[in-house]
Structures are given as structure tokens and as C-alpha cells.
């Protein structure tokens, strides 16, 4: 039976996977792993001026077990790398990672003995944000890219 013909436009049909992903992408719970100056920029992102809640990601959790979006903002040195890895491992699937800023993406200008040259040496990364520090708009852009990744069929204006 063709449901559409029977019910007309009074119902919408979809797949469960799409509904779940639609819910997920507008309810990202970020875990900020802020180790340096880039984290200051995140304060701007969550505050009224830029307001990350417009994208449904304002419930900032400081426990990795309650969050699904890891925002790594700042310089990660070798001694911190195992801690970052442990935090990543504590997050439940599905989970996404954004490397915010030059330091998290590539080590930045700290090309020395103590700084990890990009957090992808330790954990997988979904989106890299350039800049030192990035503008808040760039962090919002990263959130939108994550949303696109969660729901590849969705159109984002």
C-alpha cells in the first residue's frame, strides 16, 4: 500500500536512522578540552554575541562521559597527550573531534621537543580549524561541518 497516497500530505515518512541523526546533529554536547589561548575564543562562541546555542550545541559538559563533541582548543604537549587520549576514550560513541586552532591541528609555531605536532598523532580528528586563534565564526563553522558529517543527506543553508 502506498502510504503517501492513502494519507496524503498529513504524514511524513522517513527512516529511523535519519530521525536519530537529525536529533543528534542539533543536540551536540561539547566537551571543551581547553589548554591555551584558543579556549578563550570558545568563551566568545558560547556567549551571547556568537551564541553556539543557535546550533543546538550549548550544553557544555565537563565530563567526557556525557558529551559527544570533543573540542580540543590549545597547545597539547607530550605530557598531556595521554590525558587527551584517555578523555577521548571515555566518550561514548558516536563521537566527533574538532582540532581548534593551529596548535591543536599542527603544533602551531611550537615546533619543539615538548609539543605534539597535531593531535591527530593521538586521536582521530574530524574537523581542523585554522587560525591563531580562530575567530568564533570559524568554530561555529566547524560545528556546522560536524553537523553535515553526522547527517550527510541534510542540506545546510
Amino acid at each position: 500500500m502506498d502510504l503517501r497516497k492513502f494519507f496524503g500530505d498529513t504524514v511524513l515518512t522517513t527512516r529511523i536512522k535519519d530521525v536519530v541523526n537529525w536529533g543528534r546533529k542539533y543536540a551536540l554536547w561539547p566537551m571543551p578540552f581547553g589548554t591555551a589561548c584558543c579556549a578563550i575564543e570558545f568563551m566568545g562562541v558560547v556567549s551571547a554575541q556568537f551564541d553556539i546555542s543557535r546550533f543546538g550545541a550549548e550544553v557544555v559538559r565537563f565530563s567526557p562521559r556525557q558529551s559527544d563533541l570533543l573540542l580540543v582548543m590549545g597547545t597539547i604537549n607530550y605530557k598531556q597527550a595521554p590525558i587527551l587520549k584517555k578523555i577521548y576514550e571515555q566518550m561514548c560513541e558516536p563521537k566527533w573531534v574538532v582540532a581548534v586552532g593551529a596548535c591543536a591541528s599542527s603544533g602551531g609555531f611550537y615546533d619543539n621537543y615538548s609539543v605534539v605536532q597535531g593531535i591527530d598523532e593521538v586521536i582521530p580528528v574530524d574537523v581542523y580549524v585554522p587560525g591563531c586563534p580562530p575567530r568564533p565564526e570559524q568554530i561555529l563553522d566547524a560545528v556546522m561541518k560536524i553537523q553535515k558529517k553526522i547527517d550527510p543527506g541534510a542540506k545546510l543553508e
Binding site: Y78, K79, P82, K86, D111, N112, Y113, S114, V122
Partner: protein, 163 residues
Amino acid sequence: MMNLLEILQKEFGEAVGEVHQNYGDDTAVVDSSRIVDILKFLKEFPECPFDLFLDLCGVDYLAQSASGGRFEVVYHLYSLPKKKRIRLRVKIAGEKPSIQSAVPVYPIADWFEREAYDLLGIRFEGHPNLKRLLMWEGFEGHPLRKDYPIDKRQPIPTLGNLL
């Protein structure tokens, strides 16, 4: 008040080498064998007791290694009652530099010396717990030495060797 550097020279003779004064800050290059005595003397100097140990740091003058004075330890002391500073510089020869620890005189020197040991490999004899301070256990070499390769990376430690 008397000139502090002159007092030091009178008290310790040969052990006090080159001295100079800039903008009220005194600097003396002193002999490494007498450093603990000199620190003790300054700490207990009645006219101007240097009761505050401000800083200790190591320096690597790689270019001077041929002339036998590659490493240097610099002490900064401050006298709270007299608001006076003094800087002591000690040259240490050799590829395995070592000097007497200042901890028995100034207990606060503990972590400063551990830092200098960690980053430059200067050994402080008599230090109660001369372990690495900033780098992790198992790190090889001393990264602030000028001949430490700038692009050398060491394996990422596990949580185990951080705890």
C-alpha cells in the same frame, strides 16, 4: 652601606672573580667550589640579609665549551629588609656539569635545581631528590642543551610513566 661586591671580594678572595654593577644590580662571577659558602654568607649577612632566593637557572654557552666554561648556573637573591638584589654567576666546566646543591641553605632551590637538571643536565650534588621536573620519566637527554636536535621528537609517554 658598604659595597656588597667589595665585601664579597674581601671575604672570599680568589673565589670571587669578575664583578660588575648595573643600575643598582650587583653581579659577581664566583667559583663553583665556594658557591654554598657564599650563599650561606649572603643569607646570614647581618647588614643586608639576602633572605629571599628569587631564582636559579642554568645556561648553556655551547660556543664556549672549548674554553672550558660551557655551562653556567645563575642565582638571584633579594634582601627583603634592604630591598637589594644580587646575582651570582657560576661557570661549570665539562660535558657532565655538576655543582653543590643550594638546598641546604635555601630549601626553595629544590625545584629550581630539578628544572636545571631536567632541561640542561646540570647535576646538583647533595640535592635530596634530583629527578626530572618537567619532562617525563624515560625522556632521553636534556632538551634545552644547545646541541639537542631541534626537530628531535621522543615517543609519546603513556599515562603510566606520568603518574
